[in-house]
Symmetry: C2
Subunit: 342 residues, 2 copies
């Protein structure tokens, strides 16, 4: 079985963004009328989008969340963020109800710069306990790169970590769009977010204070595969826990668009900490003129790595995900999918 842990609903019907445009332009006194999207419109967006590619590429299921770049936690205040988040999560819930087993729901959170986590905790209770979501995305910088967000190692984040531990819920650390015109969101800022997140966790005590917390760093950890030796040296220099041990408490996805990058990631963090992903129909969705295949079809890159055993591949494609996301196996089984373990 092939599980893609990093999918976003980038193909959502235009009514969603139309609603968002109205929400932002009417930010001072926002309406709460939800976008009207039919089941058929959802089906059309997916049958011509992610579901089509899943079938073509041989992917059995995807963890599926709202578009990361559209979370936009920097717009407006906590009210705006809360309503927008509920609209987005409700749409993901509908996707998961229409295609159980194909799309497994993952939530965005109603974060807001400088605001505590009361709304996030309430939304987590709603989407996990009422709607059966299996994970959430945490934005490590809800300012969109405009200001100072406390490090992920700061106590500011501890109420959220406590809730994640209480729910036994994994979280992907994923920024949203950049407000800095010098930083392309998917070309720079996503990688900045990933890179900073890894180092912030290495230099803090979060992973020791929350031994059961499970955080997934997307895009292969940003600079990590290239800069692992720098960070390893800095851990030694500062007398902190060795890099090799700490990095085993984090998880990384294979959203790196060639074999070499994925090889380097696996060598840096280990097979057990690597989760298969495509982030399909995202930044790298283009036909490679050299191969004639989509660049974001990452499965062949993993399959081509000669030194991975069959057991290694099974871990990366399936069993690691079932272990890291404890609610995943049950959702897949309920949908009639054959799950080997977890």
């Amino acid at each position: 079985m092939i599980i893609d842990v990093h999918g976003h609903y980038t193909t959502s019907p235009p009514q969603l963004n139309a609603f968002r445009g109205q929400q932002i332009s009417g930010m001072g006194r926002p309406g709460r009328r939800n976008p009207v999207i039919s089941d058929d419109q959802i089906r059309e967006s997916l049958e011509n989008g992610q579901l089509k590619l899943q079938r073509e590429w041989g992917i059995d299921a995807a963890l599926f969340s709202p578009t990361a770049g559209a979370m936009g936690h920097h717009f407006g205040d906590a009210r705006i963020s809360q309503h927008w988040t509920q609209v987005c999560n409700d749409l993901i819930h509908r996707v998961a109800e229409l295609y159980p087993g194909d799309f497994i729901p993952v939530a965005q959170l109603p974060q807001s710069p400088g605001v505590g986590f009361e709304n996030c905790i309430a939304e987590l209770d709603r989407v996990v306990n009422e709607l059966g979501f299996v994970a959430c995305n945490v934005n490590p910088d809800p300012t969109g790169g405009a200001g100072m967000t406390p490090s992920l190692g700061d106590r500011y984040w501890y109420p959220l970590y406590e809730k994640l531990v209480e729910l036994d819920l994994p979280a992907m650390v994923h920024v949203s769009a950049s407000v800095n015109p010098a930083w392309h969101s998917a070309g720079v800022y996503y990688l900045v977010g990933d890179t900073a997140a890894v180092f912030q966790l290495l230099e803090s005590t979060v992973l020791q204070d929350f031994p059961t917390l499970r955080l997934i760093i997307p895009h292969g950890g940003g600079a990590l595969p290239a800069q692992v030796a720098r960070w390893r040296a800095m851990q030694i220099n500062e007398g902190r826990e060795p890099f090799e041990e700490l990095i085993k408490r984090l998880y990384f996805d294979t959203t790196l668009y060639n074999q070499q990058g994925i090889e380097m990631l696996i060598k840096a963090v280990g097979v057990d900490n690597t989760l298969f992903s495509t982030e399909m129909i995202g930044a790298a969705h283009v036909i490679d003129p050299e191969t004639g295949d989509w660049v974001d079809n990452t499965r062949p890159y993993v399959e081509a790595i000669p030194w991975l055993t069959a057991e290694d591949r099974h871990k990366i494609f399936e069993s690691n995900a079932l272990r890291v996301y404890p609610r995943l196996a049950e959702r897949l089984r309920k949908a009639g999918k054959q799950v080997s373990g977890g």
Copy 2:
């Protein structure tokens, strides 16, 4: 011959930082009395520091600039930046006069957030034409991560690029310290600076508009070795010049602290665009408990790469540097060093 293109005077005598402390605390009405440092104090700092390690590690010469993290362009205004820069560059000049052939002078620039490049251009004329400096460092974000600096692709930078082209002077793109407490300067912000710089140049027309401009991206390009396939796909998606061609107009150093990272860099950018460096006595200056050697002794990593030919190694260690830095060969020859070409 082994040339290290990325050295900073991180071991400068304490009088320099004492002066800087006084300058910052008296920022409103700064004095201009320079720090008093004797030749013997400079000699001591280097004979126990970079020069000692150069001899131990078999490095013949280093391009040597003021400490990057101490440039601090975000402090005060253009006056403060100008005076501090002159003090730092004058100290580098004294180092280069005391040890010609061992340390080749590279300047910092008197940048200041939101300010034009008049002072930088004047300082370039001074250090290049009067003092014989061979390169400079350009800070792509003089706000220290606090605000919005125009992309390196913005016309804001064009007067500086024009001056670099006029002088035929290469520049290393290197941020200074971070003012964002969530971003460790050497652990995160340096890599953010490198990563953003590469993408900004890929998505702009700078490299087409200035075909003779030579920019060196340090620390192996930050996330580049890991994220090359993402950026390649985005170039295709946007219909821009192919990644493989554009990347050959940039230069990268080997300040990556293991063999694998350097291998991946060379595969991504090519032998001709890779310059040997250590950034010794920097972030990764620690004994590796596994090897018993300094982590920032990067020469063995390059030498261990099995698929590099003798000619490839010669390029990376020497002849690329002589080509990219046109004033370098003459300075080395004047100091009595055997230079093979350039």
